[in-house]
Structure formats: C-alpha cells, structure tokens
Symmetry: C3
Subunit: 139 residues, 3 copies
C-alpha cells in the first residue's frame, strides 16, 4: 500500500467552473497507484468542487446562472458584507456544493463516467489562485 | 491492509430515491474488512447520492417535491435544453446533492446511524441504469 | 500503513453551526499519522457537516438565515410533519449540505486552509447530542 500527495494551484477568472480533470489524471498517473482512492480537497470557503458534465459548456453557464438566482446578492439579507457583496453569497454557494470529492481508482484511472469532469467552482467576482490538495492511497 | 472494489448497476424508475444500503452492506461484508473506509461514487451527472432517513417514505417524497420547487423546469431559464426540459434541472439537482460518499467501517459494518440509509437520487424523468463504483480499504 | 477510529459526541443548542476543528485536530494527532486521509461522518439526517469560514461569526448567522429562507417551514408543503414543523426542513437542509467530509493529512495536520473550520450544522430547533464518526488512514 502506498500514498501520494500534492498541492495544486488553480487560477480562476471570476464566477464559473474550471476543469481540473487533466491535473487529477496526471496526479493519479504519477502516484503509480493502480487500485485505490483519490481525494480532492479545496482549501477555501468561497470556491468549491463539483463533478459535472464535460460535454456541453452551456451546462456550466446554466449552473452559474442558477446559483446567481438561488443565492441573492442583496446585501440587506446579510450581516457579513465587509468583504463585498459577492463574498457572503460565495460562502453560501460553497456550502451548497462540495469541499471534498472522493473518487475510486481502477486500472490506474479514476472511475469517472464518460460525461464527468472535475471542476473548481469559483464563486467570487474576481479571479483567485485556489489551492487544491490531492491525496491518493492504494496499491 | 487490503482493498476491495466493485461496480454496481442500479435501475431507477424516474425521479426519486432508490435505497442501496443492502448492496453497500453486502459489498462491505464481501470485502472482509473489519475496520476501514467505504467510498461510494456515482458515475453520472443527472443522478446523485444521498444519505437520508430510512423510516418514513414521506421524507423521500418531500425531498423530491422540494427539489422540483427549488430547481425550476422552465426551459426559458436554461441554455442547455436539447436533452429535454428535465436534463438541466437534473444537473443542478445533482450539483446540490452528492457525487461521492465516504463512510467509515467498524466491526465489519458501516457506521451508519439507526435512521440512515444510502440512496441513489434519480433526477431524470425516465428510469436509467446508474453505475455506482464501490471501494473499501482497511484491515 | 495504520488506521485510527473514534466516535465523537457533539452537543448542539438548536439551529446553527458548532466548530469541531479542535476535536478533529486532536484525533489526527492521537492517530500518529503524518501523511494520510481523515474522514468525518455524521450519523444523523437532520444535522450535517460543513467546512466553512472560521473568522467572522456573522458568516455562520448568514448561513443559518439563508437556510431558513431557502427551505420553508410551511407544513402544508410537506407530508412528513409528525415530528414537528422543523423536522422535514432539517432533512432537506442536511441533503443540501454534507454527511461526510474527506480531508488529506500532511505533516501530521489536516490540510485545511487558513480560514477553514469544520462544523456540525444543527438543523433542528432543539439541541441534540450528535454522533460523529472519525477515521484516519495513513503512515
């Protein structure tokens, strides 16, 4: 049994999803693990993780637009407003999605479905450098 | 330390939750692992996973109805409409629930609470065969 | 490779978030694991887990208030009402957040970001004793 760990920095460009599937694939390949478990963890609370469709970019636009409708920007609704009108909505959007993902590895590859990709979901208006911790364990 | 992996196919019958707790229990028993970690991963983006109440089936109906209210079917809200009016809402409902679950194993059993079951949450109108990857690691 | 498991009981005082980061840190330290994976699992379906901001307590108030707006208390919306008007909303709020969290461990510490804490999110009106299963694996 062996482990492999790494820290990945992902640059975002404001609200929306950034595909990190290739980076995760590369990490699993580097780990030399054939059967095991990959964990992806984002070290932030105003950006999150999501496994979502990889084919039609309209899905990503619709996801971002849904989040804008579901989590209002109206600062009168929030106490935490000192970091800007987009900050508290970003925390809520993160709470509604994922901070960690666990993906089994088989034959040296993540068992993602044909239409699945791994995304960092940026919820702040400005782009950020987001740190993602990767961990693999297995044989 | 040992591992056990399997792929499970779950047939759904349209929107709602399908209990897979027994299948997960059987997998853990087959693994021969007494202390360890179970990971459940769904290979789709229009169906998801959830740990929820196992006692009153009304809870499952109410969950499905809440999702219908919270994620509108109105195609004017979405760009991604080519796969039908239920497809983009299904992606959003998946994003709001889980793609992976991690459940510790103790004394050869998942540490689920008395009232907890593991469900596949189908979000499309038609039934589908959904693939679930199972992975266990431990002693 | 080694493992460490424990059950933690967390007393809540009604709706809102209880910080369990110190308890998780202590568990990881006790495990003696330097590089590995921590799993946190809550054994309930009307309370959940969340990684969120640790600095401004207003963020926690705003999260609780968002959940109250997003998940209506109106019993006419639900079939499952026998356990009180707060019970079905609690199940939904749990479904929208997390039952399990996976956090890599590096140099004997969780790789949490500077502003991240681990919370139990109580969704019922009354306080409860909530059971949290902890599991660590690694070297």
């Amino acid at each position: 049994m062996k482990q492999h760990s790494a820290m990945l920095t992902v640059s975002t460009k404001g609200p929306g999803l950034v595909d990190i599937t290739h980076e995760a694939e590369r990490f699993v390949a580097q780990s030399g693990i054939g059967e095991g478990l990959l964990t992806v963890f984002i070290r932030h609370t105003s950006a999150s993780l999501l496994v979502q469709e990889n084919a039609d970019p309209d899905v990503l636009t619709d996801l971002e637009n849904f989040m804008r409708r579901a989590v209002a920007r109206d600062t009168r609704l929030y106490r935490h407003t000192t970091e800007g009108p987009d900050d508290m909505p970003a925390h809520i959007r993160s709470a509604l999605t994922q901070t960690s993902l666990s993906i089994p590895v088989q034959s040296g590859r993540m068992v993602l479905g044909t239409w699945q990709a791994i995304y960092v979901f940026e919820h702040r208006d400005r782009g950020h450098n987001r740190e993602i911790a990767l961990h693999a364990i297995g044989i």
